[in-house]
């Protein structure tokens, strides 16, 4: 928004959880952090990953919502669920291929990252990308990301579902998309195989 894009690079993440702490200071969901932070396998590695909502162009969570509570605005940001409409059914939690929405049972409501809408809508940067000390989460102009050796992509394949997102994932230079299902690479499945590494 306003000429900036969001880039996520888990290989840079150092597990400090600064994003998790700063997220709950933002104004739209004070006190609750919307960052999805994971230790991938701490017993084997220090690798960690922090994810925000990917703000898909056609958000699966919104499509799956029976109460029409999730909306995507014209600026491309998928908002958190509308308070009067959400019934806490967790359909979106199950539907999202990235596992982003969280249902808070005490509020009977789903809440998720809205790209710090109170900040990004007025041209400021989201809290997580501002504080991240390793810039695993960054919110910069596209020309500033080209100095990295990785390149950004926003195309994901989940089996037959192609998802184009607003938030970019940094991938190796030779990749064009992120594909997590072996079907996407198999010759036998070539009628549905979208993802061929270039």
């Amino acid at each position: 928004m306003h000429g900036y894009e969001f880039y996520v690079d888990p290989s840079r993440c150092i597990g400090c959880q600064s994003c998790v702490k700063a997220c709950e200071e933002c104004e739209t969901h004070r006190g609750k952090s919307m960052i999805n932070f994971d230790f991938i396998d701490r017993s084997g590695t220090t690798a960690t990953a922090a994810y925000v909502c990917w703000h898909c162009e056609e958000p699966t969570c919104a499509m799956a919502c029976p109460a029409d509570a999730i909306k995507k605005g014209e600026d491309g940001v998928v908002q958190s669920s509308l308070k009067p409409r959400c019934i806490g059914c967790s359909n979106c939690v199950l539907a999202c291929p990235f596992g982003i929405p969280k249902v808070f049972p005490e509020l009977e409501q789903m809440m998720k990252c809205d790209m710090c809408y109170d900040r990004t809508s007025i041209g400021k940067r989201p809290m997580c990308a501002t504080v991240c000390p390793s810039q695993a989460l960054s919110y910069v102009r596209p020309e500033n990301i080209t100095r990295r050796r990785e390149k950004p992509t926003n195309v994901f394949y989940f089996g037959k579902q192609k998802i184009v997102t607003r938030v970019h994932m940094m991938v190796p230079e030779t990749s064009d998309s992120v594909s997590l299902d072996v079907l996407d690479y198999m010759w036998e499945e070539s009628d549905v195989a979208f993802a061929q590494p270039q």
Partner: protein, 171 residues
């Protein structure tokens, strides 16, 4: 929504309940409430305007109009005339040698034309048995809610002249 949809692979519910705010077709609750509030405020303002209009209204001026010759109507006789406008039907009754009274003929109930009953010495409405006093047009009986508006009469140059309308405040 048009009853004729162009062919589309999207099911109807997806179009009607779009997840994209730009494509939303149903009015949201907020929009509706805003509309209601606006309408309500509008009506309130409208009422204020009407109130103001009435409060600051000038008393109406009426023309002088000759309606009959003095002596033309017999005692206990009536004449019908129009005052102040051609559609304002009125009735004048000579109650005695010297006295004439005139009223609007529109019954204040449902606007039927009232007539003078010499036998009962009152104005009567044939539709629903509403009776008005000949003295001041007040309601004697029946459904009419208000008195008949009284036509102010003067004599001038041998003629009976209507000069105004008195509307009472209540019935």
């Amino acid at each position: 929504m048009s009853l004729l949809r162009s062919p589309s692979s999207e099911p109807l519910w997806k179009e009607e309940f779009s997840v994209f705010t730009a494509d939303e077709r149903y009015v949201t609750r907020r929009q509706f409430v805003k509309f209601l509030s606006l309408a309500s405020v509008g009506m309130f303002v409208g009422n204020l305007w009407i109130l103001a209009k009435a409060y600051f209204a000038k008393p109406p001026t009426y023309p002088a109009s000759a309606i009959a010759e003095v002596g033309e109507i017999p005692v206990k006789g009536v004449k019908l005339f129009s005052y102040p406008g051609p559609d304002d039907r009125c009735i004048v009754v000579r109650t005695s040698e010297e006295e004439y009274v005139a009223y609007s003929q529109k019954c204040t109930h449902l606007s039927c034309a009232v007539y003078y009953s010499a036998k009962n010495d009152r104005l009567e409405c044939p539709c629903h048995q509403g009776f008005f006093s000949i003295k001041d047009g007040s309601v004697l009986q029946g459904p009419p809610p208000r008195s008949l508006p009284k036509i102010v009469l003067q004599t001038a140059g041998g003629k009976l002249v209507a000069t105004g309308v008195e509307v009472s405040e209540n019935g």
